[in-house]
Symmetry: C2
Amino acid sequence: MKLSVKHLYQNYEQYQDKQITLFGWVRANRAQKTFGFLNVNDGTFFETIQVVYEESLSNFKTLQKINVGASVKIKGEIVLTPNRPQPFEIKAAALEIIGESREDYPIQPKRHSREFLRKNAHLRPRTNLFTAVFKVRSILAQAIHNFFEARDFIYLHAPIITSSDAEGAGAMFQVTTLDLDAIAKKETTINFKEDFFGRKTNLTVSGQLQAEVFAQAFRDVYTFGPTFRAEKSHTMTHVSELWMIEPEMAFADLTDNMDVAEDFVKYLISDVLEKAPEEMAFLNKFVEKGLIDKLKKVVDQSFTRITHQEAVKLLKEANETFENTPDGMMDLATEHEKYLVKHFNGPVFVTDWPKDIKAFYMRVNDDNETVGAMDLLVPGSGELIGGSQREEREAVLRERMRAMNVDETDLWWYMDLRKYGSTPHSGFGLGFDRMLMYLTGVENIRDVIPFPRTPNNCEF
Amino acid sequence: MKLSVKHLYQNYEQYQDKQITLFGWVRANRAQKTFGFLNVNDGTFFETIQVVYEESLSNFKTLQKINVGASVKIKGEIVLTPNRPQPFEIKAAALEIIGESREDYPIQPKRHSREFLRKNAHLRPRTNLFTAVFKVRSILAQAIHNFFEARDFIYLHAPIITSSDAEGAGAMFQVTTLDLDAIAKKETTINFKEDFFGRKTNLTVSGQLQAEVFAQAFRDVYTFGPTFRAEKSHTMTHVSELWMIEPEMAFADLTDNMDVAEDFVKYLISDVLEKAPEEMAFLNKFVEKGLIDKLKKVVDQSFTRITHQEAVKLLKEANETFENTPDGMMDLATEHEKYLVKHFNGPVFVTDWPKDIKAFYMRVNDDNETVGAMDLLVPGSGELIGGSQREEREAVLRERMRAMNVDETDLWWYMDLRKYGSTPHSGFGLGFDRMLMYLTGVENIRDVIPFPRTPNNCEF
């Protein structure tokens, strides 16, 4: 197997004075008269390796002019450098340019604006910031699968194209193979029976309903896949294409649900801190001061659990002027969320929300006023997780759907789950990209997604 | 944590004569006059648990009538039964029906047609076949991530909505938020500047080009996400929505590519055989006789590697009449593929294909006639993997694109990868659902996907 910078950093002592071959990209070239230094990164490790090249190399004059971004093949000797910040360097015996770069290479070793880097999304993974962010993104995805595998959850792929628009989670993208230009040309009406699926179809906003199907067979399941929102939002936290994790558990009530959600968040944080120490140290230093402390504190504490009613009472009694008056029948505003996490000095589950502001599938409590919903609020990010116990009683569900104008016809299969072996069951949703913002301290969701999709932006 | 059937099967001896509480669904109910047996499955394990209930239970008469599919809560004692096929059973002290089922429950303990079960895709995960298939699906997904994590590959989410249609991999679904009904009503022309992204957009057919971006930063990367095909195919192997795995490696040629692909396939098979012994035994017995032997043989042998030219020569010299005459300038037909895997008695990589039948991004060989492509053919499934070394030379790539009418304008960022630190790089694609068919022996792709999407079918 090819040698990697990661492997060298983890085992450099055993390579002392040995000849190695390494491939990578030049991050910086400092050429002197009779020698020069390259900083080389091969993508496997956050840190670069210093390569010393000397006049004696036959292509020395060419090497002096290597542009940043070039790819190189290095043959050389590992030299330990215990007195320098880097524990070792490579003394090049041969240095071959594989693919030159150019002087107009956009990613120079200097500070670039985030906006500039977004326009160069194809090159930004080569910067320190995005090397760190996308490495953490990869680790986080794996951590999610590992968490659920260890607990015997079954992973399912919920469908992306769907004919259902019942979730009511927001505006949807339509999917079609109809010839739109032809339709526009003449006066007509659209016959969706002629469309690819013989009906109107959309991109999914959530895999929850399908996850419920699987939970009623496998008990504990989860989805992890892309979902879509067609709102024309231009905020720092909204994108049109986002990945979500949606666990669903049979024979589980709202308390079980919160227990899993709390363990989940703590596991993800711990795993990332453990597996990406260099990246997290960089983010802690350059992106969000105090990031690591913030995260460690979350792992070490129990999450507060209060009802929506208790939360509103607290807000009303608070010695604080809110722009939005706290209201027992309404959603919490961002300022309320901020107050609560500050008040409890940590993450807070708010449970049992007024039913009129929540989705049709949430379980109606005995008071017939609230539903078994829970939102997890965290310091610095507001709502991270939303979940609920699901309404498992066929008659109650039907009544709720009627009251909320949700058409039962398309959801016959969802109703069937209540007819045949229904169970108390629960689940929640975590926005993968928002969790990554929380973990990295990056404030704009466009900067944690490889190729973000937003209104008027579908480049790359 | 809740007790699971899986845990009990793995640790029943330590539960001997102990009281336990268990939740699950009734798969069968055999009621006698003074006692009865339930077969209960909780989704965590392929096998059911036998529960004995006796006349002494206060709700005995109700229990006698429990319908298949009902959910139950069992309190009882674990009794070891060393002389029976099942090593233990539960003697119920209390048996509570949580959610009744009905006599019209579609999934009765008998053989149902696959077609019938497709129409009941919301209930079929409760059958033995689909319990096995979807469990293996989950294990396979995890195995994919584990394989790449162990090799330090970075996982990236390629975008789903894309403005590029340059890959030429097939017909695409269009994504829009335009009001189609309004457009149809009057004679007009469509202005895609008014569409959500300000341009025409589609669902992706491949994440490869974006994976190349990441490989040029992280060296070894992979995607694993949904891709889409809008062909109106009605075969056993085509669906409109499929998950693909696409690794991409910098500083890697076609041989490196095949090495990884071979290791990958072997790892996936071994991992599934190890982690799903009950499911694979069931599939081996009831779905494809000899399945396990077929798979083990693949793990134990080296994959043959021959060029397309050699393959055609072999076919021409074969003592066999083909419907399609083997041709050095053309694709292999299914009958040719079958002959080759039979001839070599195992998997075969066919490499170096005529350039005119392959994609623009594949690296042109020195003969200027062939490209560095590879297809992996396996016994029983034909082409499982397709890959190539990518054209890293800017001028050659540009010439190929011109020759194949691929517009460079939208792919400016892809060209940039060749301008700044280009590297020899390679990758391949594995269809997740087809791999699952191969591993389970299931012959229709609709039966390995939770909620398959095909022409005129977007139910659930």
